[in-house]
C-alpha cells in the first residue's frame, strides 16, 4: 500500500548496474524464440561436443581455413538456421540449409558476434585480408569456433562461437557450400541425404561476403 511513486532506494548506481544486466540479457537472448529448436541451453555448464577430427572425415587444414563436410537431411519443419546464446556467453550456430545464412548473419550481427557466414558462389570476387592460422596454433582457432557433432539424426552444421576469443578487429568467416550441387549424396531410411561443407577462417577487419568456387 506504499504511496512511493519512486523508491528512494532506487539509486542511480543501481540503475546503471541494471542497465548492464539488461544489455547482457539482450545480447544473450535471441529475439525470435521460435527459431530456437531443440538446442536449449542446459542449466549445467555446457559440455563441449567438439568433433574429433578423425570422425569429421572431410576435415582439412588449409592455411587459415579449417573445413568439415557434413551430411544433412533437412525437412520442411526444420528451421533453416538457429542462433542460440549459451550460459557461458558462447553462441551456438546451427545451419541446416544454406538459405538460412543471411538471416543467421543478421542474428549474429544483432548479438554483436564478429562472425559471418559466406556462401561459396561461382564468380564471387569479394576479397578480404585473411589471417593465417598455422597448424601449430590450431587451438587458437578452436578457442574461437568449435565444430560440434550433429545432434540427433542429421541436423546440419553446428558451430559454437566464442566471441571473446575472436581478436579485436578481426572477423571469423564461416564458409558454407552444398556438396554435389545440392543433389543427394546418399539415402538414409528412405530419406535423401545431401551434404553441406563448412570451413572456418579468420580475417582482419570485415570478412568477404562470399567465397569463390575452388
Amino acid at each position: 500500500m506504499s504511496r512511493h511513486s519512486h523508491d528512494p532506494w532506487r539509486l542511480p548506481t543501481l540503475e546503471r548496474f541494471g542497465a548492464q544486466l539488461r544489455d547482457r540479457e539482450n545480447t544473450s537472448d535471441v529475439e525470435n524464440t521460435d527459431q530456437i529448436p531443440v538446442l536449449q541451453p542446459s542449466s549445467r555448464p555446457r559440455r563441449s561436443r567438439r568433433t574429433s577430427f578423425a570422425a569429421a572425415g572431410g576435415l582439412a587444414l588449409i592455411g587459415a581455413i579449417v573445413a568439415v563436410v557434413w551430411l544433412t537431411a533437412s525437412t520442411s519443419t526444420t528451421p533453416a538456421y538457429a542462433v542460440t546464446v549459451n550460459g557461458d556467453g558462447s553462441v551456438t550456430l546451427t545451419l541446416n540449409e544454406v538459405i538460412g545464412a543471411s538471416s543467421a548473419n543478421e542474428q549474429l550481427a544483432k548479438l554483436g558476434v564478429r562472425a559471418v557466414i559466406a556462401k561459396v558462389e561461382p564468380g564471387c570476387t569479394a576479397t578480404g585480408e585473411a589471417v593465417p592460422i598455422p597448424s601449430s596454433t590450431f587451438s587458437q582457432q578452436e578457442r574461437m569456433v568449435e565444430t560440434e557433432k550433429p545432434r540427433e539424426g542429421l541436423s546440419g552444421l553446428v558451430w559454437v562461437i566464442h566471441p571473446s576469443a575472436i581478436p579485436p578487429g578481426d572477423t571469423v568467416l564461416i564458409t558454407v557450400q552444398l556438396v554435389n550441387g545440392g543433389n543427394p549424396v546418399a539415402t538414409f531410411n528412405g530419406r535423401a541425404i545431401s551434404a553441406l561443407s563448412g570451413s572456418i577462417g579468420l580475417y582482419h577487419g570485415s570478412a568477404p561476403a562470399c567465397r569463390p568456387s575452388p
Partner: protein, 198 residues
C-alpha cells in the same frame, strides 16, 4: 529458454514467452533491487559493500536464471532472497565481498557517488528509526496506531486516511496528534521521530 518457458505469466513478467523476449530478468532486477539493497544496507555500515553484495546477488541470479524452477513471483523472490542470504553469510564469514559472478559476466561493479553513499546512510537511519517507532506503536491504542501507520509508513494524506477509516478529517488529525505526543514523550524515540520528520 527455461527461464521463459517454465514460468506461467506473472505480474513480474518473468515468464511470458509471449511477452517481449528480452529484458525479462532486467525487469525482475528493477523490481527487486531496491529491496535487496535495503536488506544489505541494514546489515552493515558500509554502503559500498551493500551495493557490491546487491550486484553480486543479481549477477549470481542472472547466471543461474535457467536453473530457476519456480512458477510465480513469490517463488522467484524467495529464490533470489536465498541467494542474497548466502551472499550475506559469505560476507559475514570473510568480511569481504566476493565479486566472482560480476567478474565472470564482465560487468562493472557499482561505483556510487559520495552523495549516493550518504543517501544510503540516511535511508538506513530512516529505516532504523521506522523500526523503532513501529515497535513503540504497540504501546498506543489501536486507533492511534492505525493513523500513524497509514500517515507515516503508507504515506496516505489525511483526507485519504479519513476516507480509508470512514471517519472525519478532524478525527484523523486529532488521533495523529495524540499519537505523536505520546511517542515524543519517550526520550529514546525523539531522535527516531525527528529522523522520520513526524
Amino acid at each position: 529458454m527455461l527461464w521463459r518457458r517454465r514460468l506461467t505469466p506473472s505480474p513480474l513478467g518473468l515468464s511470458a514467452r509471449s511477452q517481449a523476449p528480452t529484458r525479462i530478468f532486467a525487469d525482475f532486477y528493477d523490481q527487486m533491487s531496491p529491496s535487496v539493497l535495503r536488506f544489505f544496507a541494514r546489515q552493515m555500515d558500509d554502503g559500498n559493500a551493500a551495493l557490491d553484495l546487491t550486484a553480486e546477488t543479481f549477477s549470481k541470479a542472472f547466471e543461474k536464471r535457467r536453473d530457476f524452477r519456480g512458477a510465480n513471483d513469490k517463488q522467484a523472490a524467495a529464490w533470489l532472497w536465498a541467494i542474497a542470504h548466502n551472499e550475506l553469510a559469505r560476507y559475514q564469514r570473510s568480511r569481504s565481498v566476493e565479486l566472482a559472478a560480476i567478474e565472470r559476466l564482465g560487468l562493472e561493479r557499482p561505483s556510487p557517488s559520495d552523495e549516493e553513499l550518504r543517501r544510503i546512510e540516511q535511508l538506513t537511519a530512516i529505516e532504523d528509526a521506522r523500526e523503532r517507532v513501529r515497535e513503540a506503536l504497540r504501546t498506543l491504542p489501536p486507533d492511534q496506531q492505525e493513523v500513524i501507520r497509514l500517515r507515516f509508513f503508507d504515506e496516505l494524506s489525511y483526507p485519504e486516511i479519513a476516507q480509508h477509516l470512514a471517519v472525519s478529517y478532524d478525527v484523523v488529525r486529532a488521533r495523529t496528534s495524540r499519537a505523536l505526543r505520546a511517542l515524543r514523550a519517550t526520550e529514546q524515540l525523539r531522535d527516531a521521530i525527528h529522523a522520520l520528520d513526524l
